[in-house]
Symmetry: D2
């Protein structure tokens, strides 16, 4: 019996210490698409008093990972870029939605939009993945 | 009396909850250059059992922030990209070195290389900053 | 009387020596969207015998320019990235479609997909624009 | 007898219709490094009266190609990004210098800086290459 995309995603999420430690939620996974969310905490704030861009990237990158791994067997990120559009204060609720843009051979491109609760876009991300048969160590 | 780059960096670091919570160390800041390091913990691991790319990005982005803010008054990240070259296991010691590549008007480009303790490159990052007079909220 | 987006685009195209010299066609311009096309010639071939990536970029960048300038007054490219997915032989007909992804203040992000006549994607491009009141010289 | 990097580059340049048609000169090729230059002509101007970003990209991309192919056998561009820093008028002499940043397995990263005759930087480019044994058609 083959696992559905949602089942495989839940299994991967159960091992995902990074997402779980930060309170990131796996809201939705379908073929080539994933939605994850998180509430910004004081521990995510940088020296300027706004969310560290690294955490915006991490959330977008996680959404990219669940969207690209819905294609199985194992998709790894090769390259990614992010544009920061608006500052994000502590307490804000963020939602990242990853959508597959294109696939060619073992390569894939995924676009992720990160929004605040009021639906304003705070960051746009594009991730480039490659399918592998085993994780390099 | 004006503060030196190192003094301003230490002040900014004292407020940087993101870096401090993760155990990131501010090793060196000079004009247009910064070196930061961190030890990878189990809480940074993703569903594939390797470091979450988001934490590699966060470390590089932090080095970029301290290098670009050495130019004062306030430098914000607008855009950044990262290429993942080698996997990183738990326990590894990572060092990110940010170097200013070019400046034009209020814009700057910074290149960050992230290395393992054995000096192998694990990620290459390029950040684009803009100088502002106050942090947007 | 204000010009429509299509009229302004035609005026800009009339001065666009780069596009005209290469035989690039302006097929369609609406709000935040543009479609341009070109036939690949022998003069566009690189030392490997396939289209020079620079010409794929130029076509995508031109589509980005017409889509972002549909917003007026003057939109300039600040940064762009391109991923090359499939080789393109001489004689091929290419179509680039630019779509606005997001705008914030004076900044905009546009995604451009370049396809062959058989609709296969040969390149994905993302352009970052800024609105200015006059062209810097 | 093996060819030197400079000999292989000259052979590749002899077939490079794109560079030759535009008057791009191959000034220097050594291991992981290449310098190319061009004079901006009226045929390279866009609808805003400045050089089309596509031609700045093409020059940088060509320098990247000669630097990465110095590593042989065949290096293809997978992804590239460019940041436009200053406008370039007709008649300007541009020089692009490509330098290898890192290599891992079949992948390489090359940084290209494009300067005017007065040495001011007009664009910064980063290219990602992959080594292949034959050119895909």
């Amino acid at each position: 019996m083959t696992m559905t995309e949602a089942e495989r995603a839940r299994e991967m999420f159960a091992r995902d210490q990074a997402c779980q430690t930060l309170g990131i939620r796996l809201d939705e996974v379908t073929s080539g698409r994933a939605v994850l969310s998180v509430r910004v905490t004081g521990a995510m704030v940088n020296g300027h008093g706004i969310i560290h861009g690294g955490y915006l990237f991490l959330l977008a990158d996680a959404a990219f990972a669940y969207a690209s791994n819905s294609r199985g067997p194992i998709a790894l990120a090769q390259h990614a870029e992010i544009t920061f559009l608006r500052p994000v204060p502590v307490g804000e609720e963020l939602v990242a939605e990853a959508v597959e843009r294109t696939r060619h051979g073992r390569s894939g491109i995924y676009d992720v939009t990160v929004r605040r609760a009021d639906r304003q876009v705070v960051a746009e991300f594009r991730g480039h993945s490659v399918l592998v048969t085993q994780v390099p160590r």
